[in-house]
């Protein structure tokens, strides 16, 4: 009896495993989305809303990271490839090249809003006022040598006071994402590079030797002052709560959700508030995107409707539900521009 059952189950599984091959692939009735883990919390809200208010199935959203998303997205046209990829940075030219080679020739680029990256600490500690230059000096691997103008030295600073006499004499300890993270890239580009540029000889390096300039600006110190805390931002928040001397680097939505425990340091005199990021005063903010395969619109049911939902005022507008999740909306004109791109399915230039 047991044996018969097992045999039955086995053959059933074999049949199930190797017949639906064609069937499952020729028709996919849900949208498949991949990409950035930063955009994931926003895209999922839209997807859920879309699934509940329309007759279509709820899109499936994988959190693969921006780079992983483009890799899957650009692999080709057809139901086995994703329809949309989310990204916390703009598409690179090498990725465009890959898309074109695989026949993904028309891609619609949609910017959805901005995300602020915050340097936050526990509310039990005083609020910090730092500049991007302070951040650069505190976290870069090599910093300008004050005794030898124009020369770099290994970062000697131990406390924030060493960096800037106005800051407290607290040891530098910053918890942040690892190099694989898009948040880390953006933080390096906006905060560290922004600070590095204030030194003239580093800024001059950009024209001469771009590679070296990037290395100087983006390399984070590895002597323990910057702690790679993994991709889980909730963990960083908990650690900050336990250790008031530590700082954390993460996206604005985590600050927004944990405002009772942590506070965002003012950078260049601006605190990371919703409004300050929205009107561009807060210096460390980056745009978020998603990219749509035009060839799939009309093939996969619900694509046009999903895009419409995302580009609606009730989603990405200043009072929309995405803003409640911590997405910083674009200015009116920019929103209108991208809404039209979505409506007319205007592909972006591919080179």
């Amino acid at each position: 009896m047991v044996r018969k059952f097992a045999v039955g189950l086995f053959s059933l599984a074999m049949v199930a495993a190797f017949t639906p091959n064609a069937g499952a692939q020729s028709a996919r009735d849900y949208i498949s989305i991949v990409g950035s883990s930063t955009v994931y919390p926003f895209a999922t809200v839209v997807a859920e809303q879309f699934g509940k208010t329309t007759p279509f199935k709820t899109p499936k959203i994988e959190s693969t990271g921006s780079g992983g998303g483009f890799k899957l997205f650009g692999a080709g046209v057809g139901v086995e490839h994703p329809d949309i990829t989310n990204a916390s940075r703009a598409i690179k030219s090498s990725e465009k090249e890959m898309c074109r080679k695989n026949g993904v020739s028309e891609i619609i680029e949609v910017k959805i809003g901005y995300d602020g990256i915050v340097l936050a600490n526990s509310k039990k500690a005083p609020l910090m006022q730092v500049s991007r230059k302070d951040i650069f000096l505190a976290l870069a691997k090599n910093v300008p040598d004050p005794d030898n103008p124009g020369q770099l030295m290994a970062n000697p600073y131990k406390t924030w006071k060493d960096v800037n006499p106005d800051l407290p004499a607290v040891a530098i300890e910053v918890l942040g994402p690892p190099p694989t993270s898009g948040t880390r890239d953006a933080f390096a580009e906006l905060a560290l590079e922004g600070g590095a540029k204030s030194f003239d000889f580093i800024a001059a390096m950009k024209a001469k030797d771009k590679k070296q300039y990037k290395a100087v600006c983006h390399t984070v110190r590895e002597d323990g002052a910057y702690v790679e805390a993994g991709e889980n931002d909730n963990l960083i928040v908990q650690k900050l709560d336990a250790n008031p001397n530590a700082f954390g680097v993460f996206g604005f939505s985590f600050l927004d959700q944990n405002a009772d425990k942590i506070q965002g340091s003012a950078i260049d005199g601006v605190q990371p508030t919703f409004d300050a990021i929205a009107d561009g005063k807060y210096p460390v903010s980056r745009p978020l995107f998603f990219y749509v395969k035009k060839a799939h619109v009309g093939q996969i049911p619900g694509m046009a409707e999903y895009l419409k939902e995302f580009a609606s005022e009730k989603a990405w507008g200043p009072d929309g539900y995405l803003s409640e999740k911590g997405l910083i909306p674009m200015p009116d004109a920019e929103r209108e521009q991208y809404r039209q791109a979505v409506e007319n399915l205007t592909p972006m230039p591919m080179n």
Binding site: L9, A13, P20, S32, S63, E80, D260
Partner: protein
């Protein structure tokens, strides 16, 4: 004799020390286990309750005129009833704050009710709707009472409204049924584990259906029929190797073979089950071979002696006796497969999936992946839900492992 006696005290001491160390080792592991359980249960038990707010929703016939039942503005009706409860609130900003007390799922719940019983239209019905996750956290005391105003996600006026609702008995914690009946959601108060449980179920069905027969057949052949030579030694070494391979490797293999070569759909429990089959096969083969080995040769010889063929000997005598051990190994392999996320990452099962999967090829996720996704969500209310989901997963694992122990105890034969 004297030498023995002199050394005796020392040997006893050594034995006592050894035993004490053993007790200490067990004690330490029990302590860690208890700490794990206590912290998870302490974080998670509140998730089984959800704060609800009582509304008087009047389903005015005007709201349903000229449109189908499904298209009516249910969220608007919920908002209207909130306005009636707090008539003094006005102004766009204040109203937004008022509406934010109630979960965005309230409208859907109302819609479900009306769709199920259309005769409700025209009546005013009392309705307990889920509160927003921030309200829920406040009521459960996760925001720390003293923090005020701008510091938290709730404004002072929202706190006053909540206090008033509390005084009127219109806000209370109720059993969180949603947690067991819905799929994933980005609103913590609407999120549930049903989708993940269904995904885990389908995945394990595929895994069990493939790995048990294949594993047992391989074990029987290797143990009873295969000649002992260099080839079978090589196979044995490889099986033992496979059992120790990190599970992510199986995910990569699954991506290359099942998705890219066979073209099976991404994120499907079918592919997840196939990958986990590869992962659990070595475990099952090794356990099954051990079970076969433990059947004494006298049984085989007796069967062969009275004229049974080799196949009859195996199927009629050896296999039934080895079955409890094989089942134990299979269940332990299944328990491991149930807790696995890494190989599923590569085949797209780490995904946001709201709809509850209904077949082997629907996109789905599994319980441990759901835990991973929630642990990474910014909303505070997901912290307790993460722990609650871990409790469910642990419960399944305990049941499975207990079943393994029970089977072993019940059918075990001592020779």
């Amino acid at each position: 004799m004297d030498i023995v006696r002199r050394g005796l005290a020392k040997r006893y001491r050594a034995e006592r020390r050894f035993k004490a160390m053993g007790v200490l080792a067990i004690g330490a592991s029990l302590l860690f286990l208890a700490m794990l359980f206590v912290s998870i249960a302490g974080n998670g038990y509140t998730a089984f309750q959800q704060t609800h707010i009582r509304l008087e929703v009047s389903l005015e016939p005007e709201a349903f005129e000229g449109i189908s039942l499904s298209a009516a503005d249910y969220a608007g009706l919920v908002k209207k009833s909130l306005r009636r409860m707090f008539p003094e609130v006005s102004g766009r900003g204040d109203l937004r704050q008022l509406y934010a007390l109630v979960s965005s799922g309230a409208g859907y719940r109302l819609r479900e009710m009306v769709m199920a019983r259309p005769q409700l239209v025209g009546q005013t019905l009392p309705l307990w709707v889920p509160a927003d996750d921030d309200v829920d956290m406040l009521i459960k005391g996760h925001f720390g009472g003293e923090a005020s105003g701008s510091a938290t996600r709730l404004s002072d006026s929202q706190r006053q409204w909540i206090d008033r609702l509390k005084a009127e008995g219109k806000i209370e914690k109720r059993f969180n049924r949603t947690f067991f009946t819905t799929g994933d959601s980005r609103e913590p108060e609407l999120a549930g584990i049903r989708g993940a449980v269904a995904g885990s179920f389908f995945t394990l069905v595929v895994t069990l259906a493939l790995s048990f027969p294949i594993g047992v057949a391989a074990a029987i052949y290797l143990e009873e029929f295969a000649p002992r030579n260099r080839w079978t030694d090589l196979i044995e070494v490889n099986i033992n190797n496979l059992a120790a391979v990190p599970s992510i490797v199986f995910g990569l293999l699954g991506l290359a073979v099942f998705l890219n070569f066979f073209g099976l759909p991404r994120s499907a429990p079918l592919v997840g089950g196939l990958v986990l089959t590869l992962m659990t096969l070595p475990t099952i083969i090794i356990a099954s071979r051990a079970a076969l080995k433990s059947v004494p040769p006298s049984i085989r010889e007796g069967a062969l002696g009275i004229g049974a063929s080799k196949m009859q000997m195996v199927l009629h005598h050896v296999l039934p006796l080895a079955m409890p051990g094989m089942l134990t190994g299979t269940i332990i392999g299944m328990a491991r497969a149930l807790g696995e996320t890494a190989p599923l990452l590569m085949i797209g099962m780490v995904a946001f999936i709201v709809d509850i999967p209904g077949s082997l090829t629907d996109p789905s996720t599994v319980l441990p992946v759901q835990i991973y996704l929630w642990a990474d969500s910014p909303e505070r209310a997901f912290v307790e839900r993460t722990s609650a989901a871990i409790m469910i997963l642990l419960a399944f694992l305990i049941v499975m492992n207990a079943a393994a122990v029970y089977l072993r105890k019940k059918f075990e034969k001592r020779w």
